[in-house]
């Protein structure tokens, strides 16, 4: 309503319905988008429920998918026109890790939003190793070093220490690996002939779909997991586990989900691509505007059974600026879910390059690559040009603020300073190989995995 009003003020054209004046010539207007039941699918739900898709002339069906693989296959074989994806998915598909398909990202969906949770039993064993604050609460961020003695005791008993993550190329996988490695633990390597990711591992990571994380942990199959919301807060509510670290505490404002479409779709339907990007940007603006004023409403939308479907209070926990660790230990987390601030929606090449470095670090990219290769690959997948075109139209229509977009960016964020990252190792997207060299655990330079050994 407000937007329409603004638009009326801004527009000089006289026209019955403002949303139709600027309507692009759409090649395809009936679209089906897939998503996984996680709070960061919010931009899709909001764009639908607030009518942004319709105002762009798009008739969108949103369909929950069983797991990330089904979702990706759906986009590749055309059953879905686009989807809420793990940032690693378009990149991995484009370089042919897993399923080969050229997928692009015109819109990044959010920052942060994940956490690592361990079961009550593991937390009890970890707690003695965690330094306390003056008020007796654990001091955050908690390093994986606190987990090391627990894993040691499991190893001595000859039991594997299992943890869950949601997908081999998911942010959650790279985050839990980053956290474990920062605490001196080996999370295991991938090699072309062994894609389990458990070569030389001290902690065995395996794939579990997000909604099943709590029940799998309850069943004792895994002792902890790395996942997006609401499944960490759910563990607190159910009293089955304790989140130990949020990804914001691990790496301030790290990129999380993206919106993925096939390159073919974008080529055949350029205007449709711009239109859907416009709708998503508007949704992201709505989610963050006026200091998260709309988050309560967003929580209500997300708690509907067709979207995330978890209880509203569970979703609200992280969406409205706080995060609960141990039962009752609620700490402020204003940026836990960031949808628009800090240029959250702009697809930065440097974000894609960070994912590529992690794929190389853990052996998913088996061979050494040049810095140019990293940059070229990132440019193949991330498409800020489409994003800016959509943003420009929104600014012209008075729906967005000129100052909110990095018009002149070359696609690289300023290097992430050491103090924003848990192990104090700075990241500069322009020098991926140098960055890999600076990480203590992981493949670097010309190293490859042969059998189950690292070879130089």
């Amino acid at each position: 309503m407000m937007n329409t009003f603004k638009w009326l003020l801004a527009s000089t054209a006289l026209c019955a319905t403002p949303a139709m004046a600027e309507m692009l010539d759409l090649e395809k207007d009936e679209l089906k988008f897939g998503f996984i039941k996680l709070t960061d699918m919010a931009p899709l739900a909001v764009a639908y429920e607030q009518g942004y898709f319709e105002e762009e002339g798009l008739f969108v069906t949103l369909e929950a998918q069983a797991n990330w693989k089904v979702l990706l296959d759906g986009v590749i074989d055309g059953q879905l026109d686009g989807a809420h994806m793990l940032a690693g998915q378009p990149i991995a598909a484009t370089i042919g890790y897993g399923t080969q398909a050229h997928i692009i990202t015109p819109f990044s969906m959010d920052l942060n939003g994940n956490a690592i949770t361990v079961s009550n039993d593991i937390w009890e064993q970890m707690k003695p190793n965690v330094p306390l604050m003056d008020d007796g609460r654990p001091q955050h961020p908690i390093s994986a070093a606190a987990l090391a003695p627990v894993i040691e005791s499991y190893r001595d008993r000859g039991e594997p220490f299992n943890m869950g993550m949601v997908f081999p190329v998911s942010t959650h996988n790279y985050e839990i690996r980053y956290w474990l490695a920062a605490g001196g633990l080996e999370p295991g390597y991938y090699s072309p002939d062994d894609v389990s990711g458990q070569i030389g591992a001290e902690v065995y990571l395996s794939v579990t779909p997000p909604p099943q994380m709590p029940s799998t942990m309850e069943a004792g199959t895994i002792f902890g997991y790395s996942v997006g919301e609401p499944w960490n807060q759910q563990a607190v509510f159910k009293g089955i586990g304790v989140p130990v670290i949020t990804d914001y505490d691990m790496w301030k404002n790290n990129p999380e989900k993206v919106f993925g479409i096939t390159a073919e779709f974008a080529e055949e339907n350029p205007n449709t691509t711009i239109a859907l990007t416009k709708a998503l940007i508007r949704a992201a603006i709505w989610l963050d505007e006026n200091d998260n004023a709309n988050r309560e409403e967003a929580v209500e939308i997300l708690s509907r059974s067709e979207y995330v479907g978890a209880d509203a209070e569970v979703i609200a926990n992280s969406m409205t600026g706080s995060f609960e660790f141990e039962k009752g230990d609620v700490r402020p987390a204003p940026d836990f879910n960031t949808f628009f601030r800090h240029n959250a929606t702009y697809p930065f090449y440097s974000d894609a390059i960070w994912y590529l470095t992690q794929m190389r670090r853990w052996g998913q990219i088996a061979e050494p690559q040049t810095d140019e290769w990293f940059v070229e690959t990132a440019k193949d997948v991330y498409r800020p040009d489409i994003y800016l075109e959509a943003a420009r139209l929104l600014v012209d229509e008075g729906m967005a603020d000129e100052a909110d977009f990095p018009w002149d960016s070359d696609g690289f964020k300023a290097p992430t300073p050491a103090e924003d990252i848990i192990d104090g190792i700075a990241y500069d997207g322009r020098a991926p190989n140098a960055y890999l060299e600076s990480l203590p655990i992981g493949l670097k330079g010309t190293q490859t995995i042969v059998g189950n050994q690292i070879q130089d």
Binding site: T17, D29, F59, K238
Partner: protein, 357 residues
């Protein structure tokens, strides 16, 4: 009924006629699971109340009491089990969710109407501006209501079941008539009959995706995948029962057909089918039951629209209402399964000539 002058008939005869009518109707009540209507009608028309009362007790009282006992035990025991989604819901919470689902459906319809209103307004504006080419009629894209999910499941199960019947009945007749064909088909039946739908599903999914490449055909891929999975699992009871029914035809009848020099076609339509019909229907009833059970599993695994997906989605939602909603779905599935069986039984009663009718 022709009108009859009441004076010419004693009340005795009238009652006798009433009872024959009640007894006639009884056959149909039995078909529709309303057997308890008969003693009530009889008692109402004044027939030996004591005997009828014991009938009513047996046919209506006992089942109702059993249901009440079950509900009582359920509401007493449910709260004692604590799951991570809260206590197991009792009958009242489940009823609440059933009402909630209905209200959801009503809300969704309102949203749908609003969508069409907006569309009509947009189109009217376009026409007013003279942009006829831009006028679009689009189908509403919101979530399917609970009723829509039920309807999808029923459509799918019947589609799969019909395909299965079209394959199974001819094959069964072949196997029943010719020992050679039987020997050929039998090992395949034995091997494929025990295969679970969940094992068929990935194969069917792959094949349908490869063969049915268009996305804008008559059926959606997910519908076909579910329906074909149903077909593969519900073939067997019909096939086996048809073969059995056909092979156990009265030998005298077969001799008659030989004497009359009937053609094969005539033999099948005039002799084989009528005498094998009761067993074929038994097979069809079993098949539909199996199909319904299989469908829910297939929808759950393949995430195809329908009740199975509803159950899985609710499980994934993991909200405090999820368990109660899943239970609503369980009852829905059970009741629909029962109704499907009754429908088949009614059809069977209509088409077959049994001794008592």
């Amino acid at each position: 009924m022709t009108a009859i002058d009441p004076d010419t008939l004693s009340s005795e005869a009238r009652r006798a006629r009433l009872f024959t009518r009640i007894n006639k109707a009884d056959a149909w009540f039995k078909v529709f699971g309303l057997a308890w209507m008969t003693p009530i009608l009889k008692a109402a028309s004044g027939d030996n109340p004591k005997a009828q009362a014991s009938e009513i007790w047996r046919l209506l009282g006992v089942p109702l009491l059993a249901i009440l006992l079950f509900l009582g035990a359920w509401s007493a025991l449910a709260p004692t089990v604590q799951t991570s989604l809260g206590a197991i819901p009792g009958p009242s919470q489940v009823w609440e969710q059933a009402v909630g689902l209905h209200e959801d459906a009503v809300r969704e319809r309102a949203k749908e109407d609003a969508f069409y209103d907006r569309q009509d307004k947009r189109n009217a504006d376009l026409i007013a501006e003279g942009r006829m080419d831009d006028v679009k009629e689009r189908v509403y894209t919101g979530k399917p209501t609970y009723y829509a999910q039920i309807w999808t499941s029923i459509k799918t199960v019947f589609f799969g079941f019909l395909i299965a019947s079209f394959i199974a009945i001819p094959l069964g007749i072949m196997a029943g008539l010719s020992p050679t064909a039987n020997a050929a088909i039998n090992p395949l039946i034995q091997i494929f009959k025990p295969v679970s739908p969940l094992a068929w599903l990935p194969i069917v999914t792959m094949i349908v995706s490869a063969v049915y490449a268009t996305n804008d055909g008559m059926f959606s891929k997910s519908f076909l995948v579910s329906a074909i999975t149903v077909t593969l699992c519900s073939l067997w009871p019909t096939l086996i029962n048809t073969a059995l029914g056909v092979s156990s035809i009265d030998k005298d009848l077969v001799s008659v057909s030989k004497v009359l020099k009937m053609s094969t076609y005539a033999k099948i339509t005039k002799l084989v089918l009528p005498s094998a019909l009761p067993l074929i229907f038994t097979g069809l009833r079993l098949s539909l039951g199996v199909g319904w059970m299989v469908l829910i599993a297939a929808e759950m695994l393949a995430q195809n629209p329908g009740l199975g997906k509803f159950v899985w989605d609710e499980f994934q939602n993991g909200s405090s209402q999820s368990l109660a909603k899943i239970m609503v779905a369980v009852f829905t599935i059970g009741i629909i399964g029962f109704l499907l069986d009754r429908v088949m039984y009614a059809l069977q009663s209509m088409f077959t000539f049994s001794e008592n009718r």
